[in-house]
Symmetry: C2
Subunit: 209 residues, 2 copies
């Protein structure tokens, strides 16, 4: 008998209501618990997750299409949330996004959760693809939109491809956060990187000095 099944849904798809949220959270926490216990991803069956969370398999399948989708949600919930963008300037928006990336990097440095989770994720092409499609690509589209708008309103030069510009801005932090686990990620790094790279990405007329 699952917890959710004993409380019939009252309306709609059930998402967003406190009861449903609690069930979702306990399922995702079940996944985290198993991962923290060192259970490899390959052995994380929906059945085992259901048992750990104290729900029925059907309760999980009502919310996620399968292990991949559930796992991607677990990772997304464990990562720093997408920041509110100040919207005051392209500089401030970029700093906010870079700061999120820096914090995510710091989280993967702690010898615990996110590090193992991401390593496991990389070992499964199917989950890695789902993570990319559902987390990485939407972030990237948001970044592109910010850059395109800044090109339109004259904050950024227009002779560099938006996708190239995107890597010029976020690539350095991404490399330090993801590829170089020994690299420092000090407070203030997001601001320093954004300010320096923007010097070369602004229209010539608005550069320092």
């Amino acid at each position: 008998m699952s917890l959710a099944d004993s409380h019939p849904r009252q309306d709609g798809p059930g998402r967003g209501r406190p009861r449903s949220e609690a069930v979702e959270r306990s399922i995702m926490e079940g996944v985290l618990k198993l991962l923290e216990e060192g259970v490899p991803l390959a052995e994380l069956s929906i059945e085992r997750i259901a048992r750990t969370a104290g729900v029925g398999k059907a309760t999980i399948y009502r919310r996620w299409s399968g292990k991949e989708a559930l796992f991607v949600d677990v990772v997304r919930a464990a990562e720093p949330p997408d920041p509110e963008l100040p919207g005051t300037s392209v500089r401030d928006d970029l700093v906010a996004l870079m700061e999120q990336l820096r914090r995510r990097g710091l989280m993967t440095r702690s010898p615990v959760l996110l590090h193992n989770v991401i390593a496991q994720m990389k070992s499964s092409p199917k989950i890695w693809d789902a993570y990319h499609a559902n987390v990485v690509e939407p972030r990237r589209r948001k970044q592109h939109a910010i850059l395109r708008r800044a090109q339109e309103n004259g904050e950024l030069r227009t002779d560099i491809d938006v996708d190239v510009m995107n890597d010029m801005i976020f690539g350095p932090m991404l490399v330090r956060a993801v590829m170089r686990p020994d690299a420092d990620l000090p407070e203030g790094l997001a601001e320093q990187m954004v300010d320096a790279v923007l010097e070369g990405l602004r229209p010539v007329s608005s550069r320092t000095p």
Copy 2:
């Protein structure tokens, strides 16, 4: 893929002599042949490599400490060679290094060798560590030396850590070459990235306009 333009190490007794070079090349080509045939790294024993190359196991062990060291040399030989640095300016040296990275990225895009080799390498922490210690770290030290010298002679600002600067310069190309297999790597990208990022990394007094 052939290793015809490879550059054998010069650091051991007997290295660099024609006879020894030919043997080394046939051994390394043996490894490539097996990899191209789809033999997984885990099944690539020294014995099998020796058989493929038509040499004795002792011949291999005289040149390499083991499978890891041999494999790292195979990858290094398959990658674009380290460029001659023009030495005319930090800009020109950086463009040369970025261009190498761009070409390496293009090579991993071809559906053949380097792509599989690098994927295999990543799946073996021991070989990945050896590759980092013997290929990636020396490159990084060379890059740092270039940047430090440019800071000393006034070509680069001194208030940004050399290691951070290094990621600001090489990170964008690295991300495109290694993490984003679908990203374009057009001719001229190295120059464009270096010129734009240097605008923010030069001392204020020497910036454009």
